[in-house]
């Protein structure tokens, strides 16, 4: 009876629940004894020239060791020259644009967003740092602020003097008469501009780093999702040989895509540690985090959907303007992914996408749970509902008529994405049944008939998403079975809540019969694991987990040879009892040997297998969500009453962990639909710069979720596993948004942008009322 597929509680938990995790700010290692504290001086103004920085008062303050600004940064390699446009497709790489768009570590001469670092203050303790940073006096000469995609496109004000416009990347032909051919033959065409609003990731642990330069080596402890990538980035930024850098990821308090690699401010701290020879620590405050950590989403989407009156969608076009904030750190990566997944799970004959990336005087944008795919799904799902409303057909039925059928796989979408396996109608039906769809519609009808104040809305979302989009990078695993019979798995993955230590130990136990409590999993230290990619893009199980599995298979075959040698039997006669972890000649229990016996016999290093694994292809999990909301039509207040999902990510290794990922994803999706938005005023001042104003979702706004099982294995990897980490968010956002619109559609409301706050919903109801 394999442990795989069973609910196993986490090995990580006892420590986290009692003495607590060791996050960067908790480190009390000898190397950091006496470390100074870093406080950043940040711009309070969105766009300005810096005419002077006066540190005199700060330098006199208690405990101040140094104040560093851009003027002090004279020992970094120059940024690579801008050779013009890179190879085709490079605009879709998640790498910052260089050349005229280059971002300094500390602002030099110009600031481009509120929160941009202008200086670093080093003090003995953090209380002193906050006092001293207030005393650094910066002279700003304000420039007009560019806020919002419309302004970015129209204004004369350029953020980057060396450029000709605020458009950093442009891909795909603009909508014009020629492309309207795509909608020929459509009885019905609906067009709408949809906003996928700017969000803050708000991991509970913000950004944090500690760094020490000693004996020609830089050691950096950083809250990251990728220690190896962080080392690579540091090497390039600081002009160091990677071998001279050690990056350690301690416990990490959430990442959600915003802690990929290493943040610019953390690089500045590492630079300062090398520059001053002083060990340094930096832990940002939440207010810093809300303006200093990258934001997510921020797309304006012009969608056009066309089809027949009997519900067949024939054409879909998406024109995206991606607000990338003050610096294009991700080039065109996010809208490229949106474009890749634009058609979703539907069989739409003609699909066109185009995008432009614009810079604005706001916090830079990067990946946030789903990274481009929630945006795609939110758009197509809103469009499906708009289309359904236009032809007067039930949105479940319209989806059913357009979803790719089960025999369609593998399916190449118009964008070129190759969906591996799927059964989209099945999950839709599962969710409709579990939710009691007919009765929900009947209750909705009853309330409308009665004219109740509290109206019911039912919202659907069908989705497919891409996980391990960077499958080509693969993942590493090294498995060692020691002479005492225990095992250590060194993984390139980098968990920050996902439970890989439990899951990878399960994989070892399943294959080798070494019990989980004898398996140690190690991650996140580049001295111990020099090669690895880390955890993002929902890639870890299908790449990192499979790598551990492959390493276990390798160890097993090595052990077979060693055991045969010990017993002087033939390899073909050797068997491993995976339940007890015993090697023996088949049918002869007297020959039984333990893993300890075999590993000792193999040599002083035990049994070792190192694997670099990839099939080079991403996988495509899919699902359906159904949200039920109650809208108070007198106030606009929305209450999420039920949320039912089927999220199919192939074979499930540990249902407990998979459900947890779905729950967390759903909550962040509901939060986008109903509550959260990073708001700036026209001068670029953030209006939601603290957690009192940024409406992060709490337990009181959510129901318990209803999760339905579905497992459609992929044929791409031996575990049959796809990625589950982001799917919950991708499905939840549009299901809830659609539910809100559905609740008040009978009043004439056709669309409500997110977040559907009471004020927004009320405004939509009022305006529809005026139109009628």
């Amino acid at each position: 009876m394999s442990i795989l597929g069973t609910r196993v509680v986490r090995t990580e938990d006892p420590r986290l629940l009692t003495t607590g995790g060791t996050y960067v700010d908790d480190l009390r290692v000898p190397e950091l004894a006496g470390a100074a504290r870093v406080t950043f001086v940040r711009s309070p103004i969105a766009h300005a020239l810096i005419s002077g920085v006066d540190s005199a008062a700060a330098l006199d303050a208690p405990g101040v060791l140094a104040v560093l600004t851009a003027q002090d940064i004279d020992d970094l390699p120059p940024p690579p020259p801008d050779d013009g446009p890179g190879p085709e497709g490079s605009e879709a790489a998640p790498v910052p644009l260089g050349g005229p768009w280059a971002e300094p570590l500390l602002a030099a001469g110009r600031v481009r967003f509120v929160g941009e670092p202008v200086g670093i203050v080093l003090t003995d303790d953090s209380y002193q740092g906050e006092d001293a940073a207030e005393l650094v006096s910066v002279d700003y000469a304000p420039l007009p602020a560019v806020v919002g995609t419309a302004v970015a496109l129209e204004t004369q004000t350029l953020l980057f003097p060396g450029t000709s416009s605020n458009v950093a990347v442009s891909v795909g032909p603009p909508a014009d008469a020629a492309t309207s051919d795509a909608f020929e033959g459509c009885d019905v065409v609906v067009a709408r501009t949809i906003i996928n609003q700017r969000l803050a990731p708000v991991p509970m642990e913000g950004r944090a780093v500690a760094a020490r330069w000693a004996d020609g080596k830089l050691t950096v402890w950083v809250s990251t999702q990728n220690a190896q990538i962080a080392r690579f980035v540091l090497a390039g930024a600081l002009g160091l040989d990677p071998a001279a850098i050690r990056v350690i990821a301690p416990d990490v308090g959430g990442g959600f895509g915003a802690k990929v690699g290493i943040d610019r401010d953390a690089i500045a701290v590492a630079w300062a540690a090398k520059r001053t020879g002083r060990a340094l620590r930096w832990t940002e405050t939440r207010s810093e985090n809300l303006v200093g950590m990258t934001h997510g989403r921020a797309q304006q989407q012009a969608v056009t959907i066309g089809g027949t009156r009997d519900g067949r969608v024939l054409a879909y076009r998406m024109d995206i303007v991606q607000d990338t904030g003050a610096y294009p750190r991700m080039s065109g990566f996010l809208p490229a992914l949106t474009s890749l997944m634009a058609a979703g799970p539907y069989d739409i004959p003609r699909v066109q996408t185009a995008f432009r990336v614009v810079v604005t005087n706001t916090t830079p944008i990067s990946a946030y749970r789903g990274a481009g795919r929630p945006e795609a799904t939110a758009a197509i799902e809103r469009a499906m509902d708009l289309f359904s409303a236009e032809i007067g057909m039930d949105p479940a039925e319209v989806r059913r008529r357009n979803l790719l059928p089960p025999e369609a796989f593998p399916h190449t979408a118009p964008s070129g994405a190759v969906y591996d396996t799927g059964d989209y109608v099945a999950v839709l039906d599962k969710v409709l049944t579990a939710a009691g769809y007919r009765e929900l519609r009947a209750e909705q009808a009853r309330r409308r008939e009665r004219g109740d104040v509290l109206q019911l809305g039912v919202g659907l979302a069908s989705y497919v998403e891409i996980t391990a989009a960077d499958a080509a990078n693969g993942e590493t695993a090294r498995l060692v079975v020691h002479g005492d019979g225990t095992a250590t798995a060194y993984t390139g993955s980098s968990p920050h809540g996902q439970g890989h230590h439990t899951a990878w130990a399960m994989l070892v136990q399943a294959e080798l019969g070494i019990p989980m409590d004898k398996v140690t999993v190690v991650h996140g230290d580049t001295d111990i694991i020099p090669e690895g990619v880390g955890t993002y893009a929902s890639r870890s199980l299908q790449l990192g987990g499979v790598a551990v599995h492959m390493a276990a298979l390798d160890v097993k075959e090595q052990a077979r040879r060693v055991a045969a040698d010990m017993i002087e039997a033939s390899e073909a006669d050797m068997e491993l009892d995976a339940d007890t972890g015993a090697w023996r000649v088949r049918g002869d229990p007297a020959t039984s040997r333990t893993w300890a016996d075999v590993a000792s016999h193999a040599g002083p290093g035990g049994l070792v297998a190192a694997v670099q694994y990839t099939e080079g292809r991403p996988t495509f999990p899919f699902g359906s969500h159904l949200a039920v909301v109650e809208v108070d039509t007198e106030t606009g207040k929305v209450r999420l009453v039920r949320h039912v999902t089927a999220d199919d990510a192939g074979t499930v290794l540990n249902p407990l962990l998979a459900e947890g990922q779905r729950h967390g994803g759903i909550a962040q999706g509901v939060a986008q639909a109903l509550l959260e938005e990073m708001v700036y005023d026209p001068d670029g001042n953030p209006l939601t710069g603290t957690l009192a104003d940024y409406a992060a979702i709490t337990a009181a706004e959510l129901p318990s979720f209803e999760l339905v099982d579905s497992e459609t294995a992929t044929d791409i990897n031996p575990l049959g596993a796809k990625g589950i980490g982001e799917a919950g968010t991708i499905g939840a956002v549009p299901a809830v948004q659609n539910a809100v619109v559905d609740a008040v559609s009978y009043l004439g409301v056709q669309h409500i942008d997110m977040p559907a706050t009471p004020a927004r919903v009320w405004a939509a109801i009022s305006e529809a009322g005026k139109r009628q």
């Binding site: 986490r10 509970m204 439970g499 009192a692 709490t698 959510l702």
Partner: protein, 155 residues
């Protein structure tokens, strides 16, 4: 100024700056780093501890206000994985934590909630957790864990 706070049953005395927040006293003076700082507007509850038996946000209490008083952190609930408190056991059993950063504060908030309301409804648990943010779990399993602990399931 000098303060003495009983933390997890032991007196911790030190000379501190008047403006020292209780959370920093616990982390840096008492050396108990399980309690975390998650925000600066008293919004997130990651710093929740018990002060004379009641849940408080230790970032919004001065160490001076806790002088002569008694504080319990999650380490005081139990720091031995083999002998966890029912709430800690329930959190593990129900997978009510992922990255673990909000967990110490969440556990202490749960302990206080159950002390005041030993048999809460789901709605009461959810509104009782309004002061504690979690980004990883979606709260679903946290609520299950607290209800399970109330029922004594983890025994």
């Amino acid at each position: 100024m000098k303060v003495s706070v009983t933390v997890n049953g032991s007196a911790v005395a030190a000379e501190i700056a008047d403006r020292t927040l209780l959370v920093h006293f616990l982390r840096d003076v008492a050396g108990l780093t399980a309690t975390n700082v998650g925000c600066d507007t008293s919004s997130c509850g990651a710093c929740t501890v018990l002060l004379d038996g009641q849940s408080v946000k230790s970032c919004t209490v001065l160490a001076a206000q806790a002088d002569g008083r008694s504080v319990m952190t999650v380490e005081g609930l139990s720091s031995d994985p083999a002998e966890m408190h029912p709430v800690q056991r329930a959190f593990r059993a129900e997978h009510a934590l992922q990255c673990g950063f909000c967990t110490p504060g969440m556990v202490m908030a749960a302990v206080s909630l159950l002390a005041e309301n030993p048999d809460p409804t789901e709605e009461q648990v959810r509104s009782g957790l309004e002061g504690n943010l979690c980004r990883c779990t979606g709260y679903h399993n946290i609520v299950r864990a607290i209800l399970a602990a109330a029922r004594g399931d983890a025994e």
